[in-house]
């Protein structure tokens, strides 16, 4: 876990990324993310080097109801009536009309009420995987013009406002927000997204005391161990991740997948 921690250093220059993009075949529905370094939110005051994030592919949009319907149609054990209670709570796909029936939900709305187990299994079925915290945060930290949104005026404020606003009802279709520097949409303000190691940050719920955990263990922290006290949206994401377990199937939580190069 120590490796995950540290400073954002060299980023590939834009022209280097453009050349990489030109010679790469990108899977359908995904975009290419150039390599870089993720500076962890919880890194005990910025003492550590960053997490190297190699180049990878990520879904342009969150997984939709229609896509997840195809998955459960082809994989009956992930249907609502079949899934083991170990792998999902009773709220799993609770907003669907039936096992393979979306009911009133729009096919292009992001799928929600899915557990981590189901999301992970879907990703595997697609030949992909769930993003790591570092990958997700690295992509979500991109602005509209550069890989480092923090350097763009108003970026953090915009992300905070998007993160803070209540989840719209019904959920809008995916892909309606403008893409970020990498071409990825809907990272902020639509739904929360599962990540592979969502529970690696040790947020106990008593977030003011988590700094002790941070010192005694490694990764998580509430306040004192944070590298950036102003990134409130990131605090919210880490708090949310810390509040759930892998069978959690909430109405505001979806996911997207990634593929290694």
């Amino acid at each position: 876990m120590w490796v995950m921690i540290g400073m954002l250093t060299a980023l590939p220059s834009a022209s280097l990324f453009a050349r990489q993009k030109a010679r790469t075949v990108v899977p359908k529905g995904m975009v290419l993310v150039g390599s870089g370094v993720y500076k962890a939110l919880y890194d005990n005051g910025g003492k550590f080097d960053g997490v190297d994030v190699p180049s990878f592919f990520i879904d342009e949009n969150p997984v939709t109801n229609a896509e997840f319907l195809t998955f459960v149609t082809q994989n009956p054990k992930w249907r609502r009536s079949k899934i083991s209670p170990l792998f999902a709570e009773s709220t799993y796909l609770a907003n669907w009309a039936g096992d393979v029936n979306l009911g009133k939900l729009g096919p292009n709305e992001p799928v929600t009420n899915v557990s981590w187990f189901a999301a992970k299994s879907y990703a595997k079925w697609k030949g992909n995987r769930l993003p790591t915290v570092a990958e997700w945060e690295y992509v979500a930290g991109a602005g509209t013009r550069s890989a480092r949104g923090k350097d763009e005026p108003g970026f953090e404020k915009r992300v905070l406002i998007l993160t803070n606003q209540p989840t719209p009802k019904p959920l809008p279709d995916v892909g309606q927000s403008s893409p970020n520097y990498w071409g990825v949409r809907d990272l902020h303000g639509l739904v929360w997204e599962w990540v592979l190691n969502f529970n690696s940050a040790l947020v106990t719920g008593e977030s003011r005391a988590d700094a002790n955990l941070e010192r005694k263990l490694f990764c998580g922290s509430g306040v004192v161990g944070a590298s950036d006290f102003t990134d409130y949206a990131a605090f919210m994401r880490f708090a949310f991740r810390g509040s759930v377990n892998a069978s959690y199937s909430g109405a505001n939580l979806g996911f997207r997948t990634v593929r290694s190069m």
Binding site: P166, T167, T204, S207, T230, A239, S243
Partner: protein, 474 residues
């Protein structure tokens, strides 16, 4: 213990009592009896006093929700709440009660929440045991060991933001002997809001982190919004009533100088604890702290409740009202005194001259009236009252006002430059000070067109060019 059991033929009940006395001498000399569901109330109501003379198991159900509600007229805010409103629901238990706390986070919530009750003895005040994802519920229990009035709040990261968005309330742990009976009990909680736009700027206002860190709020309010407890929603009492206010301060940053204009607190439980102070004018309520005040209302009238850090009261919204009805008692209060020290200035910044840029330009008289109403609510209603009725003898009425309607240009001058000294309105003499309000010509025109066409007034439209003439001294 087995020695006791083997040697003496105590009845089971006696034995239990003996054991408890033995194990917790002086700490818990009473046994828990029965179980009940706590009834919680929204401010300004307070649950009924506890009549039990024994401790019980109290079950508390509290739901966290995230809702868009009014912060001021024309201004909305996304509040995070305990129980659907700000402040959170009032909880009342008895010293020695065993509290089983159920925290339920609504499935539509976006954020996880928890609760830190200052009445709890234990890590995080319960926060460590109540971290609750949307659509989940958690349960923890605690003993109400210490009597007093305590703040509760959410303590999920980012903690400041959860509090800034409205997640606080009060829990009263009544002492074993109960509180002396009074005629009225009310729940008033102060807090501040940090919005993207300035005070009164219309629309759904997002939280502004920069202002929160600088501790420069746009709104300081009682019970969650500007005007929550004024006019029709004022606290009420009758002459002779003994009143007890349970006052909390959610912060997140500011300390309150709590004051009721025209009253002296007979008794104050300082900081919500057990020490009583007498004859107090202004009591300090810390952020994350409380105070219990008692006073008897001897004369009728409207008593203004303020944070006596006074610009908060008149420019940021920290103003509530207590309306006391009954017969006048001239030997206590003659009725001639004016409250000139506390004159409200309204939300606009006062200035000597000049105008501020204003994006809104009314195209029709209806638009002018609509916008004027908003400006009125933000700048004028604190004194002249929402229905323009004023406060007799203190703030002159606008409704049916001969002074206003007979000379609109003079009225414009009063808004621009202020007005002081003796005037007569509808045959009643006033001698106060109205400060000038820093509004643009357009805004002055809008607000005057509004007041001259509201509250039963029938008047003409005032235009920005007419206002400009007045401003230029023509």
């Amino acid at each position: 213990m087995t020695h006791f059991f083997g040697s003496f033929k105590y009845s089971l009940a006696t034995l239990t009592t003996v054991l408890i006395l033995f194990v917790f001498p002086g700490c818990q000399s009473e046994t828990l009896k029965g179980e009940e569901q706590a009834i919680l109330t929204h401010a300004p109501a307070v649950p009924s006093p506890i009549t039990r003379n024994y401790p019980t198991k109290v079950i508390i159900e509290l739901e966290t929700t995230e809702v868009v509600r009014r912060l001021a007229d024309g201004v909305d805010y996304t509040f995070w709440t305990f129980g659907g409103e700000v402040p959170g629901k009032f909880i009342r238990v008895r010293e020695g009660d065993q509290v089983e706390f159920h925290l339920n986070n609504h499935p539509d919530s976006k954020m996880p929440h928890n609760i830190d009750l200052h009445a709890v003895t234990g890590p995080g005040g319960g926060a460590a045991s109540s971290f609750t994802a949307p659509g989940k519920g958690t349960v923890f229990s605690f003993a109400a060991l210490n009597p007093g009035l305590y703040v509760y709040h959410c303590a999920t990261a980012p903690v400041g933001m959860h509090i800034a968005n409205g997640m606080y309330g009060l829990i009263l742990v009544e002492p074993k002997e109960g509180l002396p009976p009074v005629d009225q009990e009310y729940y008033v909680m102060q807090s501040e809001f940090y919005t993207h736009g300035a005070y009164g700027e219309a629309g759904l206002q997002p939280f502004d982190m920069g202002k929160a860190i600088l501790e420069t709020p746009d709104y300081v309010v009682f019970n969650g919004s500007v005007g929550s407890t004024t006019g029709d929603k004022a606290l009420t009492a009758k002459v002779g009533d003994k009143i007890r206010l349970f006052i909390g301060n959610g912060g997140p940053n500011l300390v309150s100088s709590f004051h009721v204009i025209g009253e002296i607190f007979d008794l104050v439980n300082t900081e919500g604890g057990s020490v009583q102070n007498k004859n107090v004018q202004t009591t300090l309520v810390p952020a994350g702290g409380s105070s219990i005040v008692e006073f008897t209302v001897d004369v009728p009238g409207t008593f203004i409740i303020v944070d006596h850090s006074i610009f908060r009261a008149f420019n940021k919204g920290a103003l509530a009202m207590l309306t006391v009805t009954g017969d006048a008692v001239p030997e206590i209060y003659s009725g001639l005194q004016a409250e000139s020290v506390y004159l409200p200035e309204g939300g606009g910044i006062q200035g000597l001259s000049g105008s501020t840029p204003n994006a809104f330009v009314a195209k029709t008289m209806d638009e002018r009236i609509a916008e004027g109403g908003r400006i009125f609510a933000a700048n004028c209603a604190a004194c002249h009252q929402a229905a323009g009725q004023g406060i007799p003898g203190v703030f002159p009425p606008l409704a049916g006002s001969d002074f206003l309607m007979s000379d609109p240009a003079r009225a414009a001058g009063a808004v621009i430059n202020g007005l002081s000294g003796p005037i007569e309105v509808n045959g009643v003499a006033y001698n106060g000070v109205m400060p000038g309000v820093k509004l643009s010509d357009e805004q002055v025109a809008n607000v005057l067109t509004y007041v001259m066409n509201s509250f039963g007034n029938k008047g003409t439209e005032m235009t920005p060019s007419q206002v400009a003439n007045v401003r230029a001294g023509h």
